[in-house]
Symmetry: C2
Subunit: 399 residues, 2 copies
């Protein structure tokens, strides 16, 4: 008998990883609660609770008065035992955050930065924000139990590598984990930005929605997918690429060139960079996506017309995605989602006109509740799930 | 403490359901194998094996000579203890099959039928094939441990109901389970056809591919999705609807009307019904999709031109789906997939031209290996997974 003939061989299991997952899913639990939720015997519950207490990963919670026999006592996941550091790296700015082990954000920083400057410039800037937040909260580097970064490009999630990014010069297969290793002895999670964002909206705003799509309207156009309750990354980490769908517009003389090299892509009309280009061509003094957004908000006629066109194009692409994925919720996020009404009218119209009724009958199309924080919020949950994955906990506690 | 405050409450677990799942995943196992795979103690292994043997769900397998001490003895999932009945109900014909409890097909029947005749006509025809196959194999109705049906329309999988089908007159929310209940006392699984087909290709042909798309080219155009190793059904069972994406063709004077009421849908060019319509308009004597297929195979100039156009339209829609889902494999199935070369050239060209390189670099575009059997093969695995779901087994064996 060989090991491969039997598939994955499991080590003897202590059940501690799974029990910690139960605590992470509840505010606090008594011994009786644990027995009831898990179906374990009282003896087993007591034994495993002692192990988790000894490891410091759960802690006695604000107690109620003991009732009879063994003290009832409540126990809770020890979210304050350490911290996580997170950075949402956008095309033109980054948000960094420090959160507890449950993903609750305790500190946050924003700074302009240019992702195309490459990892040797951007990662030191990230580290600067991390050090700043550690100092502000009185934490040491060895309190850091996990690090999470998201980037505007495809990611090999298992390997923690940015792969063939269309716009992120210098990041292709750069060893991000290796860069952080000497600074923090902890796991490093790397994720595509829209995946972190959809995960944040899913866990904090729409926890009961198993199938949702997050449309990121920033410098580029991308999306993140929750399928059957999980982040859907696809075979190469490239899933969610909706920005390069080609939506021909009947009356458009010449389809605009996209930065991918094709013409007529969604992003070539509706991406922030394309709006900046088109506003400049119309003679407006605009160089950033935020300035383009300001023009739309101020009601500039050209900007509003371009935003409405962008809405219709996005709606056409979204209607195809809605037909294929049948999500319950579509979240509109990213800077340009703040253009609101000018964007949404055409977008909704196209979806309801083109998709079949069954897919749109219960569909909710909503703005992001987390706004520019969606990335770091999602990263917090993602890194916590990774650090406290039952198999990892099992290995750590049995070592 | 209320139950809801703790989420789902688990009953005490015997572990029998999970152990049976281990047996279903292996040809046969000794007691030592089981201990090694599960990490359970020998005493626990012996106790659970006895329970599964007593229930008849595992059986001693062709033994090797005992070595030392307790006989080594091999045990295997008892796939011959009962049977499953399956029916893949297409728009114009149905395939029925009888398989063992591992999903191995033992009998198969095909008969023309018209899904729009409604369940009161189609289900008796299904039952006729089922009774015929039972008689042919000497099985009684109480040997049937599960029934599976797939249909060309959206399905509420949990409820086992066809929901708002665009073409299936009379099936909307028809109580399929209730219809079979007096005949067979067993679970009934109802699935969308393309989902059953992609599951068949996944489990039998591409078991290691976690993300794949099955394009069904029949009377209509639909697709089935495997995401993160699971069937992806979407929020309303409507996922995979790629046939009503609208792909405008620049030089097309008037976009053809689709049977959904919109114009310019993929299906209105590339669906079997649309090819029949266009061949008739060109003066050919064609009334069925199979006849249209024969025209293409025979090299009729009009039919070949229409097939090539269909390939380009399908390729455009598929390239958007490939960008969004980043599958490792796209399987082309359904009757019209047999048109092969005439369809594939334009289809491949459009995908590789439009999708970004990362999504196509490792993409495989392959014809269905299972052909017209994909539906029943997938149903067999699906029903077996449902009947032997660990929670269901747990409940059955502890009752």
């Amino acid at each position: 008998m060989t090991e491969t003939s039997l598939g994955t061989r499991r080590p003897p299991r202590s059940g501690l990883g799974e029990l910690l997952t139960v605590f992470r899913g509840h505010e606090s639990l008594t011994r009786s609660d644990v027995a009831e939720v898990t179906g374990l015997s009282r003896a087993t519950v007591n034994q495993r609770l002692e192990a988790l207490l000894a490891a410091g990963v759960i802690t006695p919670a604000d107690g109620q008065a003991p009732r009879r026999g063994r003290p009832a006592g409540r126990f809770a996941f020890n979210a304050a035992r350490g911290i996580l550091l997170l950075a949402d790296i956008g095309a033109t700015g980054m948000t960094a955050a420090l959160c507890d082990l449950s993903g609750n954000i305790l500190q946050e920083r924003f700074t302009p930065s240019t992702v195309t400057d490459g990892p040797e410039v951007v990662l030191p800037a990230v580290q600067g924000l991390f050090a700043d937040m550690l100092a502000a909260t009185g934490h040491q580097p060895d309190h850091v139990e996990g690090i999470g970064l998201d980037v505007p490009g495809p990611v090999d999630f298992e390997a923690g590598l940015v792969i063939s990014p269309p716009i992120m010069t210098g990041w292709d297969r750069f060893d991000i984990r290796g860069w952080f290793a000497p600074r923090y002895p902890c796991p490093v999670v790397v994720e595509k930005d829209a995946n972190a964002m959809v995960f944040g909206e899913h866990r904090l705003v729409h926890p009961d929605v198993a199938n949702m799509l997050y449309l990121k309207l920033g410098t580029g156009v991308g999306s993140g997918i929750i399928a059957n309750g999980q982040i859907y990354r696809g075979a190469d980490g490239a899933a969610g690429d909706i920005g390069h769908n080609q939506i021909p517009i009947p009356d458009d003389a010449a389809e605009p060139l996209c930065r991918c090299g094709n013409t007529g892509c969604v992003e070539a009309y509706a991406g922030g960079w394309a709006l900046v280009r088109d506003l400049q061509a119309a003679g407006l003094d605009v160089t950033t996506v935020d300035q383009a957004l300001d023009c739309i908000k101020a009601g500039d006629a050209t900007a509003v017309r371009l935003a409405r066109r962008a809405g219709r194009i996005l709606g056409a692409a979204l209607s195809d995605a809605v037909s294929l994925l049948n999500p319950r919720v579509v979240v509109l996020g990213g800077q340009l989602a703040e253009a609101e009404a000018h964007l949404y009218a055409g977008l909704r119209e196209m979806i309801y006109r083109r998709s079949l009724p069954l897919a749109t009958r219960h569909l909710q199309i909503v703005p992001s509740q987390l706004g520019r924080r969606a990335g770091v919020v999602g990263l917090g949950y993602l890194v916590a799930d990774h650090v406290f994955d039952p198999v990892r906990v099992e290995q750590a506690l049995s070592a």
